[in-house]
Symmetry: C2
Subunit: 240 residues, 2 copies
Amino acid sequence: MPERPILVFDVNETLLDLDALRPAFDRIFDDPGAMRLWFANLVTYSEALTLSGAYVPFTDIGGAVLRMLAATRDITISDADGAELTERFGSMPPHPEVPAALRRLRDHGFRLFTLTNNTLEVSERQLERAGVIDLFERRFSVETVRRHKPAPEVYQGVAAALEADPGDICMIACHVWDTIGAAAAGWQSALILREGNAPLDVGPQPDYIGQDLDAVADRLIERYGGRGPDRGRTMPPLLD
Amino acid sequence: MPERPILVFDVNETLLDLDALRPAFDRIFDDPGAMRLWFANLVTYSEALTLSGAYVPFTDIGGAVLRMLAATRDITISDADGAELTERFGSMPPHPEVPAALRRLRDHGFRLFTLTNNTLEVSERQLERAGVIDLFERRFSVETVRRHKPAPEVYQGVAAALEADPGDICMIACHVWDTIGAAAAGWQSALILREGNAPLDVGPQPDYIGQDLDAVADRLIERYGGRGPDRGRTMPPLLD
């Protein structure tokens, strides 16, 4: 049986439900496509700034992209709008299957970490409010290397901090740009097909694809199998 | 009077009208936001692949992102759909003011070039069919360095080919990700506010902003002034 990979999870949308932002976007823009376009542009500009060597915290880019999108439609973002979006972004609930799937992976001996484009402060507040922060050994943020995913330095920095070979780490994300970056850094990768996301048939491909985290967890447990550190705690079937 | 900068133009949307794609997107996706989301994702993935060190030609990424977007909505792209989009992308008309504004800049002594994420073959076909190819001294493509804009190597490669100091070149684009990359490479930059685009209030800022190419040309001619090589051909006012 091969060694279990260390699992590193993306946070926004992969673990937490980005749809929690939708009511505010629908109200401000009166357009059901606005939230997805905002998030696509947020990633575009975090990558563009990274390529150009400039670091701006992810939520600051998010605010700037929000104002940019509003300007293209002659809409003004009020302070109350901004405060509502900040509050919603900081308190997104986990996708329904996430807490149990994370516990199941941990109970099977997998070590769990997070790696997000958000600052550690924002990320820890998100995970705390989502009630899943205790499931992770440690949280990583791109702010350490001041480049956003999928820049190779981000993944390299985490591998170094974990003192692990890149091939022994698996990135779990619902964004292909993240699995591309992880694969390019030599990591394994798993893609979750959340709504609005799908595989891209060019570039590095993920090792695992699942409709949700349960599906990906099933594949990992099947492959790396058995019980982990909790094996001793399993009761004999007769006593069930 | 300062030396006129060499002008390097982005092509897609900056010179040519991306709205020519819209009827096909509207028909395939039945969603007026689909075209903008596709283009935003196309840029996201060209940047993601560039950050990860993989080069895939821009139109191939465009096709893959189209299929990805379709998959998120349970839509299948037919061969005929693909052919129509390829045809439309290759034959976008120039924005109305573009041909005359380019001629005006050239008549005022500015040297004009293009620099696009498309391959040279696609780009030259686009400019030929738009009827503006003869206005440019030379066309550059990212395929030479096999990294997409806004990677610094793209702008550095053009400056080297032109044997020009970066500060003597001005990028003219309607996409902030492009003016960010140019500014980071030490170029001047001008942002055209085409529909669906607006300034971003974080990161490197453009030196010039205009509603269309006429507005940007006005600013450049005003600043670098006078007549260029055609000065001798100007008629005295009395004979007008």
